[in-house]
Symmetry: C3
Subunit: 630 residues, 3 copies
């Protein structure tokens, strides 16, 4: 069994060599096990093309390892040096407006550029050859935060040519592509693959089939880019290979990238994410300003536990204020501990705080670390030390099996971004609304990719799943909930023959859909409303619940349920509670902000709320975490 461990992210190249040893000493003293290095250091590893300077890295590794720290070594491919642009002037990604995304920050490359890919293979091989069998290097990280800063998608020439090839592979003939996409619609037929452009800068909306194909292609390019590194490292090391996914970056399929890796790690910035990427109301944003949204971290832990096929890390954990959100408050005292324990409760093996010391220069000067720029301890250091002591007393990294499975599908993210039909419709928002309601009922959840086997789960939910894989409903042994908008598309982004949702055994068809602006919710007979998205259903299936106007709202055929709209929070909770009871699951009603997660041995409690709550026989203060033995 793996031990729970802590770590941090360190940049020896940023600091005078004379303080490395003191830093390492203090890391060990703080109870840290891991230190990640190297992922932005290409200009110092190879200051000129082919002129390699690894000796400083050797010395840094030595100092760190001498203090008992295990090293995660990053490939530096997220930050190509300036000279790379001279070698490969066309390596940049292009934005949707047709402009190159230039040098001067990071992630300035197009995933489709073959010249840059070759350079990445080269530096990866050099690092692998030098450090692959060095047992001080206990793990490897590929690149850094694929897709961060909207970098998955590029409209470069390299991307266009690669997309044409991708289309040729997928469709084999322009005529087949024309049929698949329905290009006859507006005389959009192609005669050859090299006529196909990227779906930007068109007069009005592009064919959604074209757009979705491009999104699939763009995701595949990330998979291939990552695989180019893992294929090399696999031959050269036995250490686990990891990527650090960025929170709420959904432009590529993390399950597909993760299939080539050993551990899924993610970068958790609860306060920044609350501000800039969480589907939350203004009231929630005010209430959780200094805690983060109570469900966003848990969602990602559950998601990446699936991506990592059970192996989950947090590679970067926010320790204090960050620099990049619209506003950047400090976490409540205790949150740096709470977030770590929440990760462990969800099965994480390791939590690394980002970064060791706040940098006084360059872009992230206002990003807190465990140390301040003057090397004094920042508030999070003591919290990390406390967690280190606590995990020493409860070392086993374990995951409890959940009764509830929630399907999350990256292709559905893209499908509904391409074609929201109403400007507020968001697949992530819908799935997150379901997840939030389930958590408020006190449940543990496993997140599954759409091609996983859901058998064994008492409750399986697949809201908004654009295309329902053949055979999925057969595999479900428990109660299932599909809809709204599940099964709404063929894999080529058309409306299926026979109309959605096309679920075996469920005699129901979506006659038409409506999207609604705020304030025009459609009331439900049993309370609450459908908001944003409403479907008109016909068919002979049992109706469990109706709208106030009598139209079907919730349908059933055996264990299979279909929800014909997006319920508001109150209705979502009611509907899911009933469904849980039907599935034989007991539920609770947790106070707002209180959340829990069970391991095989304990139930953990986390108070994200602004007020103390009574739980587990005690008063849990804001930012408090506690646990009960099961």
């Amino acid at each position: 069994m793996t031990d729970r461990t802590l770590g941090t992210c360190y940049y020896p190249e940023h600091w005078p060599e004379k303080i490395w040893s003191e830093d390492a000493h203090r890391m060990a003293e703080a109870g840290l096990t891991w230190v990640r290095i190297g992922e932005f250091a290409w200009s110092r590893l190879e200051p000129e093309p082919g002129k390699l300077e690894f000796d400083w890295l050797d010395r840094a590794i030595g100092v760190l390892a001498d203090h008992g720290l295990k090293i995660i070594l990053g490939t530096p491919t997220a930050t190509p040096p300036r000279w790379m642009l001279d070698k490969h002037p066309d390596m940049l990604a292009f934005d949707a407006e047709g402009r190159p995304r230039g040098f001067g920050s990071r992630r300035h490359y197009c995933f489709s550029h073959q010249g840059y890919l070759t350079e990445c293979r080269r530096i990866t091989r050099l690092l692998g050859e030098r450090y692959g069998r060095d047992d001080r290097i206990a793990a490897w990280q590929t690149d850094n935060e694929y897709g961060c800063h909207d970098t998955t998608i590029s409209y470069s020439d390299a991307a266009r040519r690669a997309f044409q090839d991708w289309c040729a592979q997928r469709y084999q003939s322009p005529q087949a592509l024309n049929r698949a996409w329905g290009n006859v619609f507006w005389s959009m037929d192609y005669d050859s693959f090299d006529q196909i452009g990227l779906p930007n800068l068109t007069v009005t909306e592009v064919n959604p089939a074209h757009a979705l194909a491009f999104r699939r292609f763009s995701s595949d390019q990330v998979v291939l880019f990552n695989r180019a590194q893992t294929e090399i490292l696999r031959d050269l090391t036995d250490a686990p290979l990891i990527h650090n996914y960025m929170g709420v970056v959904l432009d590529f399929d993390h399950f597909h990238v993760g299939a080539d890796l050993d551990v899924a790690s993610w970068d958790s910035y609860p306060l920044g994410f609350l501000m800039d990427r969480t589907p939350a109301s203004d009231a929630e944003k005010a209430m959780f300003l200094r805690q983060g949204h109570p469900d966003l971290q848990a969602f990602h832990h559950d998601l990446y536990r699936a991506v990592g096929r059970g192996r989950l890390w947090v590679m970067e954990q926010q320790p204090g204020p960050v620099n990049w959100a619209p506003h950047n408050p400090a976490p409540l005292p205790g949150m740096a501990r709470l977030w770590a324990w929440e990760a462990f409760a969800h099965g994480a093996e390791t939590v690394c705080y980002f970064r060791w010391r706040q940098a006084p220069m360059a872009q992230e000067q206002y990003h807190a670390g465990l140390l301040r720029p003057d090397s004094a301890p920042a508030p999070a250091l003591a919290e990390a030390r406390q967690v280190a002591d606590e995990i020493a007393a409860m070392p086993d990294a374990e995951t409890a099996a959940a009764d509830v499975a929630l399907i999350f599908d990256y292709a559905s993210v893209w499908a509904w971004e391409v074609q929201p039909q109403g400007q507020d419709f968001s697949y992530f928002g819908l799935v997150f609304a379901v997840y939030k309601a389930l958590r408020g009922l006190g449940l543990d959840i496993d997140i599954l990719p759409p091609d996983a086997d859901p058998s064994g789960y008492k409750l399986v939910l697949a809201p908004g799943l654009a295309t329902v894989p053949e055979g999925l409903t057969d595999q479900i042994t428990g109660t299932a909930l599909f809809g709204p908008r599940s099964g709404a598309k063929t894999p080529e982004m058309s409306i299926p023959d026979g109309l959605p949702p096309g679920l075996p055994g469920l005699d129901a068809r979506v006659a038409y859909v409506e999207t609604l602006p705020q304030g025009a919710d459609r009331p439900l007979a049993r309370g609450g409303t459908f908001r944003t998205w409403v479907e008109e259903i016909e068919g002979d299936t049992e109706v469990l619940e109706t709208r106030s106007d009598g139209a079907p709202a919730l349908l059933r055929a055996g264990n299979l349920h279909y929800l014909a709209g997006w319920p508001d929070d109150a209705a979502m909770t009611r509907i899911l509670r009933d469904l849980c009871h039907a599935a034989g699951l007991s539920t609770e009603t947790l106070p707002e902000g209180l959340r829990s997660r069970r391991t095989p041995t304990h139930r953990f409690w986390f108070n994200y709320g602004p007020a103390p709550v009574e739980v587990a026989g005690q008063t849990l203060p804001p930012a408090g975490v506690t646990w009960e033995t099961l």
Copy 2:
């Protein structure tokens, strides 16, 4: 006398040939008379340059005509095939940001590109030669929705060169142009016409005379593009020539385009328009969410009846939810009937529902049809059938002469877009506010171009008419209302000598104008306010009404009135009611959402409101339409 008829829009190229016959059979069964085809089919009519495939079209025409349907054949020039771009790589329009507007949707051409214009002439001639004398083709449509997706204006090189020629024609010498535009102002003088650029991407605002000239030019290019097709078709067919104008597309002069055509048709999407292009309050948008704005359709009917010199069609009628607005609710049951009857009441000969069957592929998958994608009837089919029965009993397409004339001038749209002076000022918004108030008073309205003869009307209104044509006031035999902002500009976009409005017989000058933000309305002595736009008037004319601060608000000289600001809705209604009474017109006060229109034989009533209303001795439910014999 022409009969009222229904029709639909059909795309045989989208469907297997084997279902054409069944489709045609069902169209006839639904009571439809017309079917429009062909307007997006260029890639199937000419799959390679010069390789013509008209046989499928022959067969489609045959099947449809065999079921008694009359065919409207569209020229396919709104959707040039992909190979056209290889022949004419510079044919694309450019947006104001300087980027080409590429292939992948529709309307991807610049009106000024001579190469593409030649191609359009060629395909039009080919179609005209084949089908012009075929009496199964009972009408022709040129292109599709000119100007839709902001396509009137192009900043391409082709447009720049054509604009230089246009300027040379209009001004004859650079010196004359410099004088006309006042280019001395900021040393903007030109030495030659080829120095003149397009008015985009300048450091700060361009000379409004330059901008207005470019808007005029851009409109003229649409006229010439359309005329290139009508000139060919006139020689080859006797069937009426029609274009389907898109609602609230104001970038070219529809009267000028319409002068080359026989019928003006328009595409009516009440729910989409309410959401994305109607000047309506949030309260109105909420109240009419599933009905559309009660005055927007009527306005367009009255407008296009003028454009068509009495001959009005609705070429595309929304039958259910559409796909393109920010939110897309379903119409209330009954609206598909109401909208059709409202068109007939305003003099329409034909209403075609768009489209026959909802397409499961490409851009408009969520756009309803009369049939669902699974060929089952959509809700609107029964409503269309009801209308078919009703018009069979009341077949005559007739128009009553109105007592009230409202002048609508495209050049004023452009003038005030170029120079709004306050960000909320909108000519269309102002004219629509007048129209709405008149309709609420129970009046019928004729819309006139600024060069029409307004004699005979009891009341003539010309709000915001930038340049008052010489002699217009002499032609008015009834009561007239000008202002605000009427006569404010010379044709070259200067302030006239002697100051606005410069109305013969009215001793009044606009000393200065003010534009006001929301919440800073200027109160009127008799109630209500001026909002958005206020004028300070001097002169010796009779003052009928003042602002609360004593300044003149409404002036009179004989039958000529001038309004010195933009009244809020309440004041607008009061002022217009008084004016009607002065003009000998009786008025009513219709409940919100109830609207009427008279034909020579009937008065029709339409309930756009969310509640039943008592009218014509009955309770008219929401979405209800009824009529009384006059």
Copy 3:
């Protein structure tokens, strides 16, 4: 001692020569002393390259001077003629999106373009040679409103090359630049200066040191551009050299430009500025809609008095509605007088109304003048005449020394624009909030550049001063207030060693900062809140005031104070009042909208508010100005 005088801005080239004499006559009659001409006339002075036509200017000067008017002659370099583009096609500035900012309005040049700079030297020399010793030309204006329309910053190739040279001069080696900027951070190291790009269109945020260097460079280019003209004119004339700065244009260092000039003048458009560039609440914007913000003009007078080293003019004074703000109301009657008197009270020598006559053509048709387009008097003419009479009775342009000094630093504007950390943080907003509170306390204020000697002032304030100059605190003899965010950066935009603020004698360090969204203010123990920006302080300095959570809010060491957050208006006033009392300054509490300023002989009162106020023994109406003898 200089006399207070009035003037106007006139464009003889816009009007028929036959009316020049009448215009001049009326100017003199209105009591005007000055007339500014020539600054947009390049195309008429040099209609073709090298073909000079100065005779019309000679005649205009003659007519004006014959009526006793003193002439300010502008160099016409803000409006290069169209032929200049043919000579220097690459002279245009480029915007941050990478697009050239083209011909068709004004200010269409890049400050870094050497070819255009040479042309500007040439035309300046030609004008200087012809008119430099002509004593009818009593002052010179260089160019017009540097930086207006966001023209300071250009992303052209010329700018890039010049920036590379600037970097080479400043840093001497790429390695030194890499160290100064901390480029190691994300492998952003440069090997040579010609690799350095401009900080636009990067993938994510650029290094703030890079961005700040570019802002400094961009400011320096304006200084050099202006100096190219002053160096020539100095040899050719003894008349004072002036530039007319535009209000709230902060992209270049006005102190640096002003060092080469004799007088600082600015262009004052109170109503336009209120709408589009004043940090004011919605309530303030509604209350001062027709007056302008009561502190914005005063702030600029105080600022430019410093820029002009005591010599202040208003070169353009709004007389009525303007054309360029989002909404353009008319000033309350009396404001054209009030604004002029406020300028004089703050030490202005001259106030010129812009423009003499409203132009009926081109961009500024809706911009009021002293005359209407029909040459009738606009409302402001009588107010100007009244001011002329009043200053004849009180002619001496004098400035009283203030007790309070407020430091204003352009580099801090740029630093905090580059790195606001929270989206609401604005240096100008912070300084203006301090200024507004001081003025509400009835105080007079001097604004100082950061390198001025503040000794002798009873109170010195330096909020948000990014880098505190070495020795500044030693020079302060009175009470001082720094913070929030003062001393937060090294000159190279890093966090200083030892942490901010680093004030000698003050044992306080900013452990971390927080930025807060609206509604999440942090309460203060004595009332009010910190908003937007909050600092966590550690150290042993005396704490004068705390937040409600006990954290230090206001610190003191001797006369040196440090404020650890941005107070809301109420707390700001309370804190500054207490500080004034500690500094031996008495304060008042002026009613909202009432403001004052003292000269050596008088105290002037200005009522910006919408209601009458009792002051100086009288009832001062809205837009009223009065004075008491001291």
